[in-house]
């Protein structure tokens, strides 16, 4: 870096001089000023050494922290952003779970799950594993428009090391984004009032563009 301090008034503050030396931008006159100050107070050399050391550590630590930035790409379609999908998944998680259960149950009936005696005559693929059932649910849901997609990241709930260091058992949530059309949005959840009695709370999904001052809350919850 070149000298960046030509307009500063003189004499320069000793901390500014130390800072310039730490940055490697001190001029000859800066060094001369600093040495003059040190001849009156030798502890300034110790201040300089300590500043050099802490600055070096800070540089490496911050640089290491900021390295995650290189992995963050700009999402170019705001409608399918990961965060947007996550918020959608969270806001509609109740619907998604109910729908997933219903669809899986329906698929189970129609595709022969729990019914191995039925003759599919090769028209409907036999589903024999949970993964196959899930893939079928996704593809059917997407073709019918009720399923948008699965959120790529999974929410980790718990992990346990398996005996013999053979790995970990992880318990996690898979998130599915679904689409539903409702005519009258009046959703309720149970909460407690100030006396501890159960009380229904109306939840109105708030749909608004994201702004700089947005709240992370995606609900307006009004006690009835």
């Amino acid at each position: 870096m070149t000298h960046e301090h030509h307009n500063l008034p003189t004499p320069v503050d000793k901390d500014v001089l130390i800072s310039r030396i730490v940055d490697g931008i001190a001029s000859e006159s800066d060094w001369a000023s600093f040495e003059t100050l040190c001849s009156q107070d030798a502890s300034l050399w110790q201040d300089l050494a300590a500043s050099q050391r802490f600055n070096q550590e800070l540089l490496i630590t911050v640089e290491s922290q900021l390295s995650v930035a290189d992995d963050i790409q700009l999402p170019m379609d705001p409608h399918v952003l990961p965060t947007h999908r996550l918020k959608m998944a969270l806001s509609w998680s109740g619907w998604a779970i109910a729908a997933a259960l219903t669809l899986t149950w329906a698929l189970g009936l129609s595709t022969g799950l729990n019914n191995t005696k039925g003759n599919t005559a090769g028209l409907v693929p036999t589903i024999s594993t949970p993964d196959e059932a899930f893939d079928r649910y996704l593809s059917l849901g997407q073709s019918s428009g009720t399923v948008i997609n699965e959120v790529p990241t999974k929410v980790l709930l718990h992990s346990t090391r398996l005996p013999g260091e053979s790995g970990f058992q992880v318990i996690y949530i898979r998130q599915i984004v679904e689409r539903a059309i409702v005519s009258d949005i009046n959703l309720y959840r149970m909460d407690q009032d100030e006396t501890g009695r159960p009380v229904p709370i109306r939840i109105t999904p708030r749909i608004q563009p994201v702004s700089n001052t947005q709240s992370d809350s995606i609900y307006n919850a009004d006690p009835i």
Partner: protein, 191 residues
């Protein structure tokens, strides 16, 4: 920053406002490091930096067309970053989503992985913690100064302050960190 680079930056901002996605991507790649530094200076401890940076990236894409003055781009982006960090601080609970794909996990960068000795690593983390305890006016320029290639002049542009003020604040911030670190007994034992 040279005049040529500043002009390039201004042109990219203008093009990005008009919907040029390539220009917007180039802008993001140029500025995301210092945006991360702003987030680091303002975010609550428990929130992951990459989560917030992703949020800022999303807001940039969504709102770039609303930017009226291309010259105000850096200040505007800084405001978005600060607001994002503040919203995160107000949120009572944030769930950390963990990618379970092993291929992805191996790509996760480990912070402070450039230190070989554990004691040095610990001390470096302490210095960062001390820096993050500084008043905002000193914390922000000091953290920005740690971004590679970010001169006093560019920091002054981002923070909309005179260059001399930036230099003074960084000097004061370094002095405060030094005094706090030397007053901290476990840290000074390594001296």
């Amino acid at each position: 920053m040279t005049g040529m680079k500043a002009t390039d930056d201004h042109t990219r901002v203008c093009r990005a406002i008009q919907g040029d996605q390539q220009a917007l991507c180039a802008l993001w790649q140029m500025h995301r490091r210092w945006v991360a530094a702003i987030l680091l200076a303002h975010k609550p401890k428990q929130v992951e930096l990459d989560d917030l940076l992703q949020e800022v990236a999303m807001l940039l894409v969504k709102n770039i067309k609303s930017l009226k003055d291309p010259a105000a781009f850096k200040g505007w982006l800084r405001t978005i970053a600060i607001n994002t960090a503040r919203v995160a601080a107000r949120s009572p609970a944030r769930t950390r989503s963990v990618p379970l794909n092993p291929a992805i996990q191996t790509q996760i960068r480990t912070p402070v992985d450039q230190f070989n000795a554990p004691a040095l690593k610990e001390e470096a983390s302490k210095v960062l913690n001390l820096a993050l305890q500084l008043p905002e006016a000193y914390r922000e320029p000091l953290i920005l100064r740690c971004v590679q290639g970010l001169s006093y002049r560019r920091i002054a542009t981002v923070l909309s302050l005179p260059e001399t003020t930036i230099e003074t604040r960084i000097a004061r911030a370094r002095k405060m960190v030094r005094q706090m670190a030397l007053a901290d007994q476990p840290l000074s034992q390594h001296s």
